[in-house]
């Protein structure tokens, strides 16, 4: 092997990975697997660069993979890369979920199930609550069932209980991890924090530098790329924008529920 560059030791910008499998998880969701495993905590993310298309953040759903929902130009391009494609990635970036000893509740909706899948591997016998619009939105069901008890709600009742995930709450737990659409997380948080549960929430914001410099990803002054994406409920109390608004590419505020959401 060629001698590694002193310039790059420990601070290379990109890691080159090769896609070894592109697995369809549902109509609109695919997982990409790489020829490389990352040492990461669930909740950490990669910046994935497709030359000529862009560079966007994706949570690790596997130690060697990510899961993408086709919602716009980038995610469609990403979901259609063939196995054998070389990609440049940065990461794992950000702060993931902490250790959660004790009874853990995992609450997931939409692509939030991606980091939750990895988290389910990192905690003992979690109770897992999954919510979606329809059966097709429930990802990784087998794998979740292999890790703990799973309860499901769908808005159309096509699988699990008909209704919203919040209706399964409050479940008693020492810890809860929330990944999903921000309105769902905000609603769940309100119900949960009254109980004696340490709650962690994974946020998404538009990211540019993904290294804490540009401020694009701010949520009430916390830079999600370095202070998050996982925040504790204690911090969220201070975040007015949580569940309310986020900055678009220009920095303009838009409601968290607006736009083409990936959830």
């Amino acid at each position: 092997m060629a001698v590694p560059c002193p310039r790059l030791s420990g601070r290379a910008m990109y890691t080159d990975v090769t896609v070894v499998e592109n697995r369809a998880e549902s109509e609109t969701v695919s997982s990409l697997f790489f020829d490389r495993r990352f040492k990461a905590r669930a909740g950490q993310f990669l910046m994935l660069w497709l030359p000529g298309v862009g560079e966007k953040p994706y949570s690790l759903s596997y130690a060697n993979g990510i899961t993408v929902k086709k919602v716009g130009p980038f995610s469609n391009a990403l979901a259609s890369v063939k196995s054998g494609t070389r990609l440049a990635v940065r990461g794992p970036l950000g702060k993931g979920f902490s250790q959660m000893p004790g009874r853990v509740l995992l609450i997931g909706g939409g692509c939030g199930m991606a980091p939750l899948r990895l988290l389910a591997q990192q905690v003992e016998e979690p109770l897992i609550l999954l919510g979606g619009k329809t059966a097709d939105d429930i990802l990784f069901l087998k794998e979740f069932q292999g890790r703990g008890e799973v309860k499901i709600t769908t808005e159309d009742g096509s699988t699990g209980k008909k209704g919203l995930i919040t209706e399964l709450l409050p479940e008693r737990a020492d810890y809860a991890a929330l990944c999903g659409p921000e309105p769902m997380m905000a609603a769940s948080l309100k119900l949960l924090s009254q109980e004696r549960t340490k709650v962690f929430v994974a946020l998404e914001r538009y990211m540019k530098c993904a290294m804490g410099l540009c401020g694009a990803c701010t949520c009430s002054g916390y830079r999600v790329c370095v202070d998050g994406p996982v925040f504790s409920a204690a911090t969220l109390i201070d975040m007015r924008d949580f569940g309310w608004r986020r900055r678009a590419k220009s920095g303009r505020f838009e409601p968290v529920s607006g736009g083409v959401s990936c959830f």
């Binding site: 990109y14 540019k208 530098c209 410099l213 540009c214 701010t218 002054g221 920095g251």
Partner: protein, 302 residues
């Protein structure tokens, strides 16, 4: 000495485009950051998205960026300023494509600004544009016109932010004559290029981006040193500050205020706060009881 002083204690600020938004400043202030004031990202006349990602590239020794001046609509900026619960003063950085643009922005933002920093020198562009550096910093005439227009629109201190890639002595002189109160050295270097050998293509949109961090330090230090000798204006130094020694170097070269940017890369809020204190405590230990004014320019032994 200028009549219009930028009062900042401690004399440390963030660099424009770093942290960028008022909500981040508020957060840092709450967490006890050791900066005397904040500088906004450069605010432009109309909403802009800036470039597509990737907009930064870490060379391992410095950072290339090609954000290319994203900015929310001015109305949103005004609303954010109105609502901002911030104790420390804010230097408002602005950019435009004409002297009128600059003057209009000053009119709208005047009541929120401790001072205006004029971005005359950003080397980055959205596809097809000419850079601020190309339009303004490369032409002392243009710089004079922009500064004069702003001078006509405000009594607040005016800071002319210079480029290390142009004849900065001429630009600075033009800015000074047109009524600038401060010089800022400097905006980013180059631009430089990044290639990904794995994918065999350039990384940044358009290929190039401005270089910041440690590579810029000696160049910007030379600018501060020479401008301190040449002109009577106080100087704000930006470029590659990583630790208290770098800040001390800039004070010795003649800077009155030192700005921090790339050193905050990958740092959480708590780490940012810690670094600002490390830098300021280092400066205080170096001063060892002396006042800061005793060392400003003290590196000029002839």
């Amino acid at each position: 000495m200028p009549t219009r002083l930028v009062e900042i204690h401690p004399p440390l600020v963030n660099a424009s485009g770093i942290f960028s938004y008022l909500d981040v400043f508020i957060r840092l202030e709450r967490e006890g950051v050791c900066l005397g004031g904040f500088v906004t990202k450069s605010i432009g006349p109309a909403e802009r998205s800036g470039n597509d990602n990737p907009v930064v590239f870490d060379t391992g020794y410095g950072l290339l960026n090609s954000l290319a001046l994203p900015t929310p609509p001015l109305e949103q900026w005004l609303a954010e300023f109105e609502g901002a619960d911030l104790e420390k003063p804010v230097i408002v950085s602005i950019f435009g494509f004409s002297a009128d643009d600059f003057a209009d922005l000053v009119n709208r933002l005047d009541r929120y600004a401790l001072a205006f920093e004029l971005n005359l020198s950003c080397p980055n562009v959205q596809p097809g544009e000419q850079s601020l550096m190309g339009m303004l910093a490369e032409s002392p005439d243009q710089v004079g016109q922009v500064v004069a227009a702003v001078r006509g629109a405000t009594d607040k201190p005016i800071i002319a932010k210079l480029s290390p890639n142009t004849d900065y002595l001429a630009t600075a002189q033009a800015a000074c004559q047109a009524g600038a109160d401060y010089l800022a050295c400097s905006n980013s270097l180059g631009p430089g290029l990044a290639i990904d050998p794995g994918l065999s293509c350039t990384v940044l949109p358009g290929g190039t981006g401005g270089l910041t961090g440690p590579p810029l330090k000696p160049i910007s230090l030379a600018m501060v040193y020479k401008l301190y000798d040449l002109l009577p204006l106080p100087i704000i130094a930006y470029g590659g500050v990583q630790c208290w020694q770098d800040a001390v170097d800039y004070f010795l070269a003649g800077a009155s205020i030192v700005g921090l940017g790339t050193c905050f890369a990958r740092k959480s809020t708590a780490e940012v706060v810690g670094l600002t204190w490390d830098i300021w405590r280092g400066v205080l230990e170096y001063l060892d009881g002396r006042s800061l004014s005793e060392i400003i320019g003290a590196g000029h032994v002839h």
